[in-house]
Amino acid sequence: MRVRVDADKCQGHNRCYALAPELFDVDDYGQAVVIGDGEVPPDLEEKARLAVANCPEYAISLDETKD
């Protein structure tokens, strides 16, 4: 599973960083960025889903296909 942030949709609400700081970071402008390649370890899958479900701009998506 991988998380993605659509930089055009992200408006810096900061929900993903607050809910899953292991998966997301924020830049100097408060815009969300995925940490590393966005790969989600199994124990963080729930947090990844929460980040998706709490983004007011629908800017976060999950790619559930296996590599």
């Binding site: 408006q11 810096g12 929460l50 709490n54």
Partner: protein
Amino acid sequence: MTETIHDGYGTPTGIYGPVDDWATDLDHADPGYNPRAPEIWTELREAGCPIAHSDRYGGMWAPLTAELVREVAYDTERFTSHSVVVSTSRIETPRGIGGAPPITSDPPFHGLARRLLLPPFAPKQIEPWEPEVRKLCRQRLDDMGEITPGETVVDAAEQYAQHIPVNVIARMLGLPVEDDDRFRGFVHDALEGVNRSPEERKQGFERMEQYLDEHIERHRVEPRDDLISYLLDVELDGQKLSHEHVRGSIVLLLIAGIDTTWSAIGSSIWHLATHADDRRRLAIEPELIPTAIEELLRAYAPVTMARMVAKDNDFHGCPMKEREWVLLPFPAANRDPELFEQADEVVLDRAENRHAAFGLGIHRCLGSNLARLEVRVAVEEFIGRFPEFELAGDVRWSVGQIRGPRELPVRIL
């Protein structure tokens, strides 16, 4: 209803009479609106009226569903941010820039003006304020004096909530904290006095501008490490900002940063005063507080924004005319049953909460990180000091686009 409505500042307010039908004569500045706004939105939606209208203020529309609010917020072509506070007066300021950039700006200028202000309000810049906010909250609680459980009544809005955001934003800007009464007066004139005569509104703005001009000048002579000096120093396209831009941005930060957060803190305490189960649950499960704060922000989102129709258009069957107002009631969107289960109930542990308390799209509240910090710490400290309290009298709600308690008597138990 009495003929003249007094607003607590000793001045009569309002050029319009009472509302008789919310679907066709909606007035968010009618004193009957804010106390029961959630019921009004539900009644209108259930009556098949997803967009209310009013002839007041020169024409005003109010979409009431999450989908419609989102559509307006995202459509910066049809709906301009030139004026974001519905009032009796149309302020003439440069198109695309407006009087208080970036909130009154449209693309492309908006992006440039906003980018200047994003860094000081980014999460990692705001986090270090937590100890200061906490200290401030504790000071206000100490100042309440001796508390006799079961007897002492405090006003959680006047004695507590209203002091926290004004103090922080004044310090960030570099304005004297002791002028806080004056700042609340400015905010009151700008946001609550919207249905006064245009002349009265103009005088209110002039008072504020005069005060700010004086402080901007002092910062010019003697720069300091604060946001006013930052705005005077920063460049946009290789040029310093105009005086109007600097002052407009200060107006924005001052006005947007005060009674919005004060309202969110007050509404949260009001909810906890009237819902003992929720209050006790937070005391037992403090780790739930961040999630609970999001839910309180959803249910009691304080801010309704506004747009102006940029050009005549048909919006879902509504013939919108250029320069009419469009209210953007994010609080109504947050209670839309299409988007939220049990939309009118506070579910403290609501895990999936795609609320829009801080707006949607390019104008997302610049101060949202600060506001969240202030609301969370203020609630933590209040319930930490007073685990048990109850409502002790009538609540007076604000008037206008910012919704929250202005008088909130609670008895400490």
